[in-house]
Symmetry: C2
């Protein structure tokens, strides 16, 4: 058993914290998204960068001083100006990007030092939630559940198609547990991204949810789960606590150089017991690629959705990103057109995953300024 | 018979002049082409504006002081900086745009005052000629023919498809006349743009050429043709001569307000006798719309032609204008993509004529800044 740190808040009320995972990279929104401007910094879901919308969404429940933003040093430099009311100490700088397990161990260690019974809500910075009121209600219930129980709470999204791009959570519909009006189902297993046939079976069974990547845990419970189910990571946790206590960036850098770069799903969730899933029926979308914005942006009468003025002649089902400029479409359908200043993309909506191939070509051609 | 003006050059050598018709408007190259930036000002055929290439093409034969540029006042303001070696007097400002007959009457009157026997070559400012050497050879022969004969010489383009967008010249293959190595056929009739069925018959007969809009005439011959075949225009000609002699812009403005706005084809060519056609086999193109540039710009291995850097994945037969920027195409074919700073066009190549409809919509919506 890990010892609790001295001090901290705790008490009757719940000390709820948010850990915003803002270190994501990715090229799926190229040419708007670049290495220095990943999805969470883009104003694609709403009018503000997604990370700002993520923080704004939890503000009614969690004051800024209890929000931790996790990213590397370069990303943190881009993030800080977006949050003028957040203190420098709330930006937790990872020495290296090593996937989500190290990020979440670091952030949770930081919370644990402050208050081991504080409840951490893990929120990826690049997701869309269309019903923020409902989301907050669920988050409040999940926090209460995690505070009272010894469980890790996850949010699972009801699948609407046999997606092969998400991990799945297999849960037991029997023996649901309640917190207020909210229901929590025991998790049977975390499943990695399936092939299409398996995804279809998951969809048909009704006992599988998409793994949203959102989690709620008490800091001390997280530490105990690590101890029980990821013992190889426990020494890293202990050293992180030490590095944070000593405020020693060199020590932290050394830990990150040696820690395995693994996801929290792989490192802990797939192995841990005592995990429950709460149905995340609050209009969740991970906004995974340009075509996902068809469901987010408002369509005109022809089924075209546009950021920027658009004249469409016999053109249907197109997605245009060209703000502040005019786009004229003549006789085209199902196209994605993205103008990003120095680069322009034209791509059928059903091939938007191939944007990665474009980025790969640019990388091979050493066209650094477009990356 | 019209009296000859005193003075002028004439003599044994030919006093060859160029009249560049630079007043064209048009929207077929929208969004690059605008009201203030018509086709002749665009660097679409080569690297220079088409009007500059038109002038450069005849420089080996015609020195700048014998080149007249005809356009309205606003267009002339755009044109003058392109020709630093041309005197202000060489820019002939039309008070109003009234189609080609008034423009050519004015320009020819101006030449006539200088030298009635000077030979005028009429050159639209927005045409491409791929074999400029051959063109100059033909132009020299045409000038000699026009100087010696009393004919108007036209250049006729051998049709390659049943075009409905050009006027046709019906000529007699019997009794060709020669000047050096060049052949001149007597014109039987000028025909307006035909329907498709008629265009097919023209193409099949072999006795029809496209009207290139290029003409060569002696100034005094032109005046006599007007007198004989367009007597209603003769009073305007006389008043133009008077206005030019007096350098009276008000008088000229009054003439242009009253003169019928008709083309030289309609006003004179369709009626005149003594017109010959010279085969214009020098790689002529009127560059009528975006898709015509497929034959002008160099294609890459996938049949894509691009101004600006391009990454094409499974994309073929596209025409891209996006200079200085990167365009990425994924899985699209036969598209025209034009980025013009504040406006972007995406249009299948076979629908490029519909760009006019876009411009009409913008006009109706009073989106003046895009016109």
């Amino acid at each position: 058993m890990i010892k609790r740190a001295a001090g901290g808040r705790g008490g009757a009320g719940i000390d709820l914290r948010a850990v915003i995972l803002a270190g994501g990279r990715g090229t799926r929104f190229w040419p708007l998204g670049r290495a220095s401007r990943p999805k969470q910094l883009l104003p694609i879901a709403g009018r503000k960068p997604m990370v700002v919308e993520t923080v704004d969404r939890v503000r009614p429940l969690i004051p800024p001083e209890r929000i931790l933003m996790v990213a590397d040093a370069a990303q943190t430099r881009s993030l800080r100006p977006l949050f003028p009311d957040m203190a420098r100490a709330n930006f937790l700088v990872e020495p290296l990007a090593r996937n989500t397990a190290p990020s979440l161990m670091l952030a949770t260690a930081r919370v644990w030092l402050d208050n081991p019974e504080a409840v951490v809500s893990v929120l990826p910075a690049d997701q869309l939630i269309r019903e923020p009121g409902k989301f907050l209600e669920k988050l409040r219930a999940a926090a209460a559940f995690a505070a009272a129980d010894q469980s890790i709470v996850t949010f699972g999204i009801r699948p609407t198609y046999p997606a092969t791009g998400y991990g799945y959570i297999h849960f037991s519909k029997n023996r649901p547990r309640k917190m207020g009006r909210q229901v929590f189902y025991p998790v049977r297993a975390f499943r990695e991204k399936p092939g299409l046939a398996l995804a279809r079976r998951f969809l048909a069974s009704g006992a599988y949810a998409w793994n949203s990547g959102m989690f709620v845990w008490r800091a001390d419970v997280f530490a105990r789960k690590l101890e029980s189910y990821a013992p190889d990571l426990l020494p890293f946790w202990k050293r992180m606590v030490e590095a944070l206590r000593k405020k020693d960036p060199k020590l932290l850098a050394g830990i990150f150089e040696r820690i395995p770069a693994v996801s929290i799903d792989y490192a802990l969730m797939e192995k841990a017991r005592g995990v429950v899933v709460c149905p995340g029926d609050f209009g969740w979308s991970d906004v995974g690629a340009w075509s996902s914005l068809f469901d987010v942006w408002k369509a005109d009468g022809d089924g075209n959705v546009a950021r920027g003025e658009c004249v469409a002649l016999d053109s249907h089902g197109c997605l245009i990103y060209n703000p502040g400029r005019l786009t004229a479409l003549v006789g085209v359908s199902g196209l994605i057109v993205v103008e990003a200043g120095d680069a322009l993309l034209v791509c059928p909506a059903d091939q938007d995953q191939r944007v990665r191939e474009v980025v790969d070509i640019l990388r091979r051609r050493k066209k650094v300024r477009y990356l």
